[in-house]
C-alpha cells in the first residue's frame, strides 16, 4: 500500500537516484547530448520513414531525385549560362551549376521541410516523449539521400566532361560538414519559430528564393566586388558553395577570409539554433497540441 502521502514518512532505506526527474525548467539550458545519443536509432528510423514515404507516394519514386537536379541544371545552363552569359570560373557551365546545386538543394530541402516538421509531427509530439530536436534533425538527414544521388550524378557529369578532381578534393568532407552545420542550424531556428509563428512556413518559399539569389549558385562569387566579399561570406551558404566548387572542380581561388566568415556564421547558427530550440521546446506541446 502506498498511494497515500503517509508513506513518505516511512522512508528508512537510502534510496537510489531516480531514473527520471521531472520539474519545470527555467532559463537557458543546453541540449542533453547523452539523451540525444540514447535516441540515435529513433533519428535513423524517422529519417528512413521520411525517405520511404516520400518515394512510395510518388508514381516515379526515386527517379525524382535524379530528374530534379538535372532539370534545374538544364534550365540554369540555358538561361544563365547561354542567354545571360554569366561567367563560370573557367568550368563548363553545366558542371559549374551542378556543383553549386548539389549543396544548395540539400540546404533548401532541409530548411523547407524542417520548418513545417514539428507541425507535421504534431501527433508524435503530443503522445510520446523524446528530444524534440530529433524531428528537424531527421528531416535534414533524410535529405542526405538525395544529396548522395546528386553526388553520383555529378561524378558522372565530370567524367563526361573529362574532369578529374584535384588534390583539393580531400577538403570536401569539411565542406559537407559545413553544409550540414548550416542546414541543421537554420532548420532548428525555423522549425522552432514556426511553432509559434506560422508565418514562417508562409514566408518559406520566398525566403528560399531570396537565399538562392544571394548564394553563388548560378554565378561565381567573383562577380561580387572584392571589398564586399567578406561581408558576402556572412551568408554561410556562400562559403559552402564556393568551397564545393573549389574542392570538386578546382574552380575559383582557394577559399580565404570569406570562408572563415562563413564557417563562423555556420557554427554560430548551429549552436544558437540548438540553444533556441531547446529553450522553446518545453512549450511546443502546449502550443501545438
Amino acid at each position: 500500500m502506498a498511494v497515500l502521502e503517509a508513506t513518505r514518512e516511512q522512508q528508512r532505506y537510502p534510496e537510489p537516484a531516480p531514473t527520471v526527474v521531472i520539474r519545470p525548467t527555467r532559463g537557458w539550458a543546453f541540449l542533453d547530448v547523452r539523451e540525444l545519443w540514447a535516441h540515435n536509432e529513433l533519428i535513423y528510423f524517422l529519417a528512413a520513414r521520411n525517405i520511404k514515404v516520400r518515394y512510395k507516394q510518388a508514381a516515379i519514386g526515386i527517379v525524382w531525385a535524379v530528374l530534379q537536379p538535372l532539370a534545374m541544371m538544364a534550365v540554369f545552363t540555358l538561361f544563365f549560362g547561354r542567354l545571360a552569359n554569366l561567367p563560370s570560373a573557367g568550368v563548363p557551365y553545366p558542371l559549374f551549376a551542378f556543383a553549386g546545386l548539389l549543396p544548395w538543394q540539400l540546404f533548401s530541402r532541409a530548411i523547407t521541410e524542417s520548418t513545417s516538421s514539428l507541425i507535421m509531427h504534431q501527433r508524435l509530439i503530443t503522445r510520446v516523449y523524446f528530444p524534440r530536436i530529433i524531428i528537424p534533425m531527421s528531416v535534414t538527414l533524410a535529405a542526405l539521400v538525395d544529396f548522395a544521388i546528386s553526388a553520383v550524378l555529378l561524378l558522372g557529369l565530370m567524367l563526361a566532361f573529362g574532369f578529374r578532381p584535384g588534390a583539393a578534393v580531400v577538403w570536401l568532407p569539411v565542406f559537407v560538414l559545413l553544409l550540414l552545420l548550416t542546414a541543421f542550424g537554420v532548420g532548428f531556428w525555423l522549425s522552432a519559430l514556426n511553432v509559434e509563428f506560422r508565418d514562417v512556413a508562409q514566408a518559406m518559399p520566398f525566403l528560399s528564393q531570396l537565399w538562392l539569389f544571394v548564394t553563388p549558385v548560378v554565378y561565381p562569387s567573383s562577380l561580387v566586388p572584392a571589398q564586399w566579399r567578406v561581408l558576402y561570406g556572412l551568408n554561410p551558404m556562400a562559403g559552402v558553395v564556393e568551397g564545393f566548387r573549389w574542392a570538386l572542380l578546382g574552380a575559383g581561388p582557394a577559399p580565404g577570409p570569406m570562408l572563415l566568415v562563413s564557417s563562423a556564421v555556420a557554427v554560430g547558427l548551429f549552436v544558437s539554433g540548438i540553444a533556441w530550440f531547446h529553450r522553446r521546446e518545453r512549450t511546443f506541446v502546449d502550443v501545438v497540441g
Binding site: 520511404k52 512510395k56 510520446v128
Partner: protein
Amino acid sequence: MAAVAVRAEGLSKRYRIGQRVPYKTIRETLAGAISAPFRWSPTILKRSAARNGDQNTIWALKDISFDIGVGEVVGLIGRNGAGKSTLLKILSRITEPTEGLAQLYGRVGSLLEVGTGFHPELTGRENVYLNGAILGMKRFEIDRKFDDIVAFAETEKFLDTPVKHYSSGMFMRLGFAVAAHLDPEILLVDEVLAVGDVAFQRKCLDKIRDVARSGRTVLFVSHRMNSVRTLCSHSIWLDAGHMRMAGPTPEVVNAYEASLTPVDSERQTAHHGSIAQFRGWEIVEPRSEQPHVLETQGPLTVKVVVEVRAPIRHGVHAISLWNTDDVLIWGWATDGIDLPPGVHAFMCDLPGLPLKPGAYSWRVGLYSDGYLLDRWHCVPQMIIATAALGDRRDEWSGLLNIPCGFHVVEDRHS
C-alpha cells in the same frame, strides 16, 4: 514498505486560456509589442500572466502529491477534464509541470495512444520497427521480440501490407502489441482499452495484469470502473485538477461512482429522491463474478434496486438501454406499481440481448402521478462480452450480434 517507483510532489500545471488561436502570428506579436512594449519578451509575458492569475489562466492540475510503490497497479479516475491526461502527460515528460516535482525510478513506458507514429503508407513490419523506436525500444530488442509481437497482434499474414489497408481492429492490435512488448518497469497507460473488440480488450487487460503480476508498476487511466476494479489495488481520484481522494480501489471507486449519479442537483431542487432513490443495478441471472458483464446470448435478468421512503401508488417504472453513441437500443415502461416504504428490487427478465460486444448503459426512472421521483444513468456501464458473430471488420459489424444461417438453393419459381 517497498521502494517507491513514482513520486509526485506538488505537481501543478497551468494553462493560459482566452487565446483563441493557440499560436501567434507575427502580426499579433508586433501589434502586441507596439501596444505594450514592455510585455514583448516571452518571459515578461509569462510573468504578467501569472500576476493576472485567475483571469487568463487555468490550473489543469493543482498540487498533486502521491507515492506509488514498486509493483503497485494504480488506477487514475475522474471525469473528463479532471486532469488525468495532463498528469499522465507530465509523468511521460510530454509536457512540463508549471510547479512541483516528480521522480520516477526505472524505465518508463507510456502508452497514451495505440499506434503512435504509424504511417499508413508503410507496411506492418516497417511500422513495428518505427513504433518500437518511438516508444523507446532498441533495434535489437525489436528484432528479438518481433515474432512475439506479430503473434500477439494476430496479423502475420499482413506483415508486408501497408497499414492503410488494415481494418481499424488490426491497426489497434498491432499498435498495442508493440507497446505490450516494451517491458518497462513503470507503465503509464491511458484508456487504450476503449477500442477494439471485446476479445482483444480482454487480451489487453490480461497483458496489463501480467505486467502487474511480474512486479512492474502501472498507472492506469480509465473511465471503465470495471477494469479499474479488477486491475488496480489502489486508485487516485482527480476532480477539477485536484486530488479528491486516494486509497484502496473499492473505496475510491465507490465514492467516485456515487458522485457521478447525475441526480445531485435535481434532487436538491425538486422532490426527486426524497420519496424514492435508485441504489444500484446488476445482472443476477446468469450469475457471475462480474455482475455488470454479460457473457451470454441467452436469457438474463437485470435487477435494479430502489429505496422507497414514502408509499408510492400507481407508480411508473421506465427502463432503457443505450449504446456509447447515445443511441436508444430498447425501452420499456411498466405502470400501476404500488410500493410500500423499504428497499425493493425491480427485476427485468429478458430473452437475450443479441448486441454487438461493447459498453452499454441502462437508464431507469420512477414516476408517480406524472411526477418524476427519481431518474438514474446507471453506473457502472454494462459490458457485453459475448463472442462477435457478425462481420469481423469493425466498420461492418453493426449493432446486432446475431448469427446468420446461410445457404444457397435453386430458385424454381422465377
